[in-house]
């Protein structure tokens, strides 16, 4: 039998109250009584739109719109970053772009998020995974599709996967996601 929730989820929203209880007179006894008053709580909305620049990382997002997955690489050592960095962390040199779209890729670590931040709650349960690429030194955080979130298993680690790209780009890192590698 399915486990049923035993409480309702609380939300912040409430009614507007017209008239707040307060002593009719402000004599000393009434003023002292104010120390026993429960706190008033109000809602304050805070909403903002940022103009976020991908700056030197922009080509990575542009590549996704063209169904290519890029990485960066130190031009001398060849140390490579699946999540791009403009400069190498060891040499400090500016990195160069490389194409890893067709590199063999595997699940390095994963989780199934049954809850999440507010923005992603409607998408739960979803699978987050860190992907390793053959010959690339660092990993890439991504969404994993094509596997059953209710069947999470450590055996998923090491699974051969491949990238897929959104047809209609959102210019976000979720323009690429991974699925189990199709066997030919």
């Amino acid at each position: 039998m399915a486990k049923l929730p035993n409480q309702r989820e609380e939300t912040i929203g409430g009614y507007i109250v017209h008239g707040v209880p307060f002593p009719l007179s402000t004599d000393s006894e009434a003023l002292d009584f104010l120390k026993k008053m429960a706190p008033l709580q109000i809602e304050q909305e805070y909403k903002i739109t940022y103009l976020h620049s991908y700056a030197q990382d922009s080509p990575w997002f542009a590549a996704l719109t063209n169904k290519r997955l890029l990485a960066t690489q130190d031009p001398e050592s060849g140390y490579s970053y699946a999540t791009p960095r403009g400069h190498d962390m060891f040499s400090g040199m500016e990195t160069q772009w490389i194409d890893i779209t067709n590199k063999p890729a595997f699940i390095h670590a994963f989780t199934v998020c049954h809850f999440g931040s507010e923005e992603f709650l409607p998408e739960t349960p979803f699978v987050l995974a860190l992907i390793e690429f053959e010959g690339v030194n660092t990993l890439l955080l991504t969404r994993l599709m094509g596997i059953d979130p209710s069947q999470a298993s450590l055996n998923w680690i090491g699974m051969h996967v491949q990238p897929r790209f959104l047809r209609n780009s959102k210019l976000k890192p979720t323009d690429v996601y991974f699925v189990p590698k199709e066997t030919s």
Partner: protein
């Protein structure tokens, strides 16, 4: 550098929500407690203290920029020097260390470290979103920003790499919740079983709700002083508890914000740069690590916190600690997740990398004299999170590292019974303890050593 003493502390009751007081007034609760514990009144201590360091993580939670100065103002500390520090979950630990530096350098004789967070002002899921903004907003946050998810990925790798089990993680939850049963400051004081932990709501596989700390409102303060500062306070009428507690070691490490960027170094580099002195000196341990590397382990990857190892090694070296498991009497460590407590056992050298799961159920990190309802094979050696840790006490981020400091002071003073009204959590003759503060996925980590002064 001068010797720095942690002479007093105070903690507000951590709770889900404190709508009854503003954050300034919550800090004042902790502040008043700390100065009353050295038997000074508010005006006298406020006149004598040289300055302060403020600790809070997120401006988002209170929707208030420069909240630090509002506390400084409320406590009557203006126009004395002060500044705010921020380093995610390690903010409190960083705060304590910055106050330590002010004393050690001779810049101040008496310094107040205060921290707070009021996380109840937004719904839990919005709070999770704020916290997840402490991940790269270009590459990580938009994929599904959720800290429990990040730590869950780390532990799936730890499980795969080392065979760590969910039951071993659950044992940490059982331990810390039951320790907190005796701590009146804790937010969650419950007796759980392994089954309770595993049957709790799944949050991010394999972590359930009882593997994860909760958000809290709360504050904590620590008063640090030099010998001269103690003299000044006592000349003004203070009674400072003996034995004195000195902060004899501090260490701090960092790592890449994006877990994906963390390196996977080879055996030689690990042994040279990251192994503890104890590990380096043991032929058997060197061989153990060689076998791990031969089977494909690399360091730190996403399964270990290199910043924690770096901070621990640095603090141990400064405090002259070689064998932390047997030399430290207790550790208050940052257990935002049961998994991260296990990972941190390894970082802090209580056991070797890969052995954290077995260590968790060995009994070595449990409190003596408490029946946890578990079959533990060994007697306690170095209790970890005797207070209940973050999992049970709660985690009002900016206050947490300082809360650890307060509990450590009381533990070494031998005054737990006085402050808790219950002596269960007082370790017998605790002389040396460590506090460990950790920021998002191991980006900033501090370790500070507190020691009974001669």
């Amino acid at each position: 550098m001068r010797t720095v003493y942690a002479i007093s502390g105070g903690v507000s009751k951590f709770s889900k929500a404190r709508p009854d007081k503003t954050f300034q007034a919550i800090v004042k609760e902790a502040y008043d407690y700390a100065i009353q514990d050295i038997f000074l009144d508010f005006p006298t201590f406020t006149r004598l203290v040289d300055g302060s360091v403020a600790s809070y993580f997120s401006d988002h939670f209170s929707r208030q920029l420069m909240a630090g100065i509002m506390v400084q103002d409320y406590l009557g500390l203006i126009p004395k020097p002060g500044h705010r520090v921020e380093g995610g979950g390690a903010t409190g630990g960083i705060c304590l260390q910055e106050a330590w530096k002010a004393i050690a350098s001779g810049h101040m004789d008496i310094c107040l470290a205060y921290g707070f967070e009021t996380m109840s002002h937004v719904e839990t899921w919005k709070g999770n979103e704020f916290i997840a903004l402490a991940s790269d907003v270009s590459f990580d946050y938009p994929v599904g920003g959720f800290y429990s998810g990040y730590y869950a990925m780390m532990v799936t790798r730890h499980m795969k790499e080392f065979g760590t089990t969910v039951e071993q993680m659950a044992a940490v939850s059982v331990k810390n919740h039951l320790n907190a049963y005796h701590n009146p400051y804790a937010q969650k004081r419950n007796r759980y079983t392994i089954e309770d932990v595993r049957n709790a709501t799944m949050v991010a596989w394999p972590l359930t709700r009882l593997d994860i700390c909760v958000m809290s409102d709360g504050a904590a303060v620590v008063i640090l002083a030099s010998e001269n500062g103690i003299k000044r306070l006592e000349q003004a009428g203070a009674t400072i508890t003996r034995p004195l507690v000195a902060v004899t070691g501090i260490g701090r490490g960092t790592d890449a914000m994006r877990m994906s960027d963390r390196p996977h170094v080879d055996y030689g580099f690990f042994m040279e740069n990251y192994a503890t002195e104890q590990e380096k000196s043991s032929e058997e341990t060197r061989a153990y690590y060689k076998r791990l590397w031969d089977h494909g382990t690399r360091y730190p990857g996403v399964h270990s916190f290199r910043a924690g190892r770096t901070a621990g090694n640095m603090a141990y070296k400064m405090a002259g600690i070689f064998d932390p498991l047997h030399e430290l009497d207790f550790i208050e460590l940052h257990d935002a997740y049961t998994s991260s407590e296990i990972q941190t056992y390894e970082d802090l050298g209580l056991c070797r990398y890969g052995e954290g799961g077995l260590f968790a159920i060995s009994g070595k990190a449990f409190m003596p004299g408490i029946d946890y309802g578990l079959e533990l094979q060994e007697t306690p050696i170095c209790p970890v999170n005797p207070s209940g840790g973050l999992i049970a006490c709660g985690h009002p981020v900016g206050a947490t590292g300082l809360m650890q400091g307060v509990f450590a002071i009381w533990q070494i003073q031998g005054t737990i019974a006085k402050h808790f009204g219950d002596k269960t959590l007082q370790l017998n003759n605790a002389k040396l303890g460590a506090i460990h503060s950790h920021a998002g996925t191991g980006t900033y980590v501090t370790v500070s050593i507190l020691e009974r002064a001669n």
